[in-house]
């Protein structure tokens, strides 16, 4: 378990402020945010390399705030792998075992076990200077896991890898995470990675956590236009919300009108004023003709671009504002969607989130 309680860190002009979140035992958390938002500083603080000015770090129930790095039981994998250049692959993996009670034979067995899991058997005797990016990251991962740390910290471990290697390593990492049961926190700026890997995601901006929760929850319900834009999963439109109905239910929501430029949408709101409408691309339904049913917002639109992304195709629209809709690639083909095609974009009032 990793629990941060209001940690404060100052590094030159940069500061982490009141950073709090918790990852359950054997959980997999992801810290995401733009460059310079403080993700790596959080890892440095947990690993004990950045002194705290306030707050507490608790790892598996033990307050480690004042514990030096070597006694925290934390394994770290860096973006640039930072393998020891004067040691071989095997010596790198074995490095942290020098402090363990394991016999020579057991140490060798542990190195062999990890090398086997990560497909490193054939390079154990090699130096680290000429390893490929994927090999080097796997060695870095094996080295961090060898002493069986209680917590594993990964600082953008896939950032410099090609897509195929990234995919393979991601799978190996998930397998190892399950196998070793180590509580993991990974830094990434790729929200797709968060959706695939983690069971908790914390979004950072300017040294603060701005939202945290399950990845699907953050994806579906971003709490600010910053989060919505950063995770890149939604259309974010700024406009004015005006009440048109009475408040109902425990959460006092009411029917409202959202106006931005010449376009107006029916929405369900809990407050009025200047807000952002967040519409997920997959919540936009495209038709060549107007449709009936419960959907209340039907916007005439023109296709401006078609972006093929594997089984999904993103359709860029001009509906008074730029909008991005997602359809299956088969549907896009069947509907003959191409730049210049006129159609109707429909979105339910309940699918529009106001932040």
């Amino acid at each position: 378990m990793i629990r941060l309680e209001g940690i404060e860190v100052r590094l030159g002009q940069f500061a982490l402020r009141d950073v709090s979140f918790e990852i359950p035992p054997a959980g997999y958390g992801l810290l995401i945010g733009p460059t310079g938002s403080g993700k790596t500083s959080v890892l440095e603080a947990i690993a004990g390399h950045a002194p705290l000015r306030g707050g507490r770090i608790v790892l598996h129930g033990k307050d480690v705030t004042a514990v030096p790095p070597e006694r925290r039981g934390v394994g770290v994998v860096y973006q640039q792998n930072n393998l020891f250049p004067h040691l071989s692959v095997a010596e790198n993996i074995r490095y942290g075992l020098a402090h363990s009670d394991l016999s020579e034979a057991d140490q060798r067995a542990r190195v062999g076990e990890l090398a086997d899991s990560l497909g490193l058997d054939h390079i154990l005797g090699r130096g680290v200077a000429n390893l490929s990016g994927g090999e080097a990251q796997r060695v870095g991962l094996a080295r961090a896991l060898a002493p069986r740390p209680s917590v594993l910290l990964l600082d953008e471990p896939f950032a410099s890898l090609d897509p195929a290697t990234r995919f393979t390593l991601r799978q190996q990492l998930l397998d190892l995470h399950r196998q070793e049961g180590v509580t993991t926190l990974q830094v990434t700026h790729d929200f797709q990675e968060a959706l695939q890997l983690g069971n908790l995601v914390a979004v950072m901006s300017e040294g603060r956590i701005v939202q945290h929760g399950r990845p699907e929850e953050v994806f579906r319900h971003p709490n600010s236009s910053f989060v919505a834009r950063f995770i890149g999963a939604a259309n974010v439109i700024e406009g004015i919300v005006t009440r048109v109905g009475d408040a109902e239910g425990a959460d006092r929501q009411f029917a409202a009108r959202f106006s931005a430029g010449s376009v107006t949408l029916d929405v369900i709101a809990d407050r009025e004023g200047l807000l952002n409408a967040v519409i997920h691309p997959e919540d936009i339904v495209l038709n060549h003709r107007p449709t009936g049913g419960s959907a209340r917002n039907q916007l005439p639109a023109t296709v401006t671009a078609v972006e093929l992304a594997g089984p999904v195709t993103y359709i860029h629209l001009d509906a008074g504002w730029p909008l991005r809709a997602a359809v299956t690639s088969a549907s896009a083909e069947a509907m003959g969607l191409a730049a210049g095609v006129a159609l109707f974009a429909t979105v339910k009032a309940t699918a529009i989130r106001l932040v």
């Binding site: 070597e70 770290v76 640039q80 250049p85 004067h86 490095y95 402090h99 080295r143 961090a144």
Partner: protein, 261 residues
């Protein structure tokens, strides 16, 4: 590949550079060409010359070892996180580079002479500097320490700090991390700095001649032979000192840091 004539500006630069190379290499080659087997053979039987060479090598080794003992830890601190006074200390340690060596000799004479507080106190425990071997070691240490500290500091500073952090997270205490990661990675750079400092100590003349004329190190002996007996008498010891310097130069080039960071 078709022949491409060299760029005109490169030709001018090459010509200017060639003048400098000839200026540096010419006198040294000329001196080596003056070596005659008979004269050199005679030099090896010259007891005063042999004694001066032994003294030079031993004193330079002592000065370098002392410099490494005191300077490498300082270099490590200077390469690490900033601390109050770091720039001042760095400047002070590098000061001997810009001080004319006879001035360094006079300063050392005043500081370590019998009439100074430091020299007097050390004299009471039997450590005499003026006209004694410790004086030679002190002069050599003074002039070589900037090279040793700067070179070692660069060697430490060139190590990615993430490596030490990784080692700490893998269970190393700061001391153990220094021994297992920092020192091995900096070792070639430190060894190169130590070798360069040693070569600088061997070649020192200006500070030594003021602090300890006798017993004579080789550079002082060359000067003495030149002023007392003329150029021909100074050539054999000069050649032998040059060969020692060239051998050290080769070793330094061999030790240039090559470990990828």
């Amino acid at each position: 590949m078709p022949f491409r004539p060299p760029d005109r500006s490169n030709l001018i630069f090459a010509f200017l550079g060639a003048i400098l190379v000839v200026f540096v290499a010419g006198p040294l080659l000329y001196l080596l060409l003056r070596a005659e087997p008979g004269t050199l053979g005679q030099a090896f039987t010259d007891r005063e010359l042999m004694a001066s060479i032994s003294l030079t090598l031993l004193a330079a080794t002592a000065a370098t070892l002392l410099g490494a003992l005191l300077g490498v830890p300082l270099a490590y601190l200077l390469a690490g996180r900033p601390f109050p006074g770091r720039t001042l200390i760095q400047g002070l340690v590098e000061l001997p580079i810009v001080i004319p060596h006879p001035v360094a000799g006079i300063a050392l004479l005043l500081f370590l002479g019998r009439h100074s507080a430091v020299g007097g106190a050390l004299g009471k425990i039997g450590l005499e500097f003026v006209s004694h071997v410790p004086g030679i070691v002190a002069a050599m240490l003074f002039v070589s320490v900037p090279i040793l500290v700067s070179g070692s500091r660069e060697a430490f500073a060139g190590i990615d700090p993430h490596l030490a952090r990784a080692a700490r997270s893998l269970g190393d205490s700061p001391a153990r991390c220094f021994r297992r990661v920092t020192l091995p990675l900096a070792s070639r750079g430190i060894l190169a700095a130590v070798s360069l400092a040693w070569a600088r100590a061997v070649s020192e003349f200006g500070a030594i001649v003021i602090l300890t004329y006798n017993p004579k190190v080789t550079s002082v002996l060359i000067f003495d032979r030149f002023t007392s007996f003329g150029l021909e008498a100074a050539i054999p010891p000069a050649i032998i000192l040059l060969v020692i310097a060239l051998a050290m130069f080769g070793l330094i080039r061999f030790l240039q840091p090559t470990i990828p960071q």
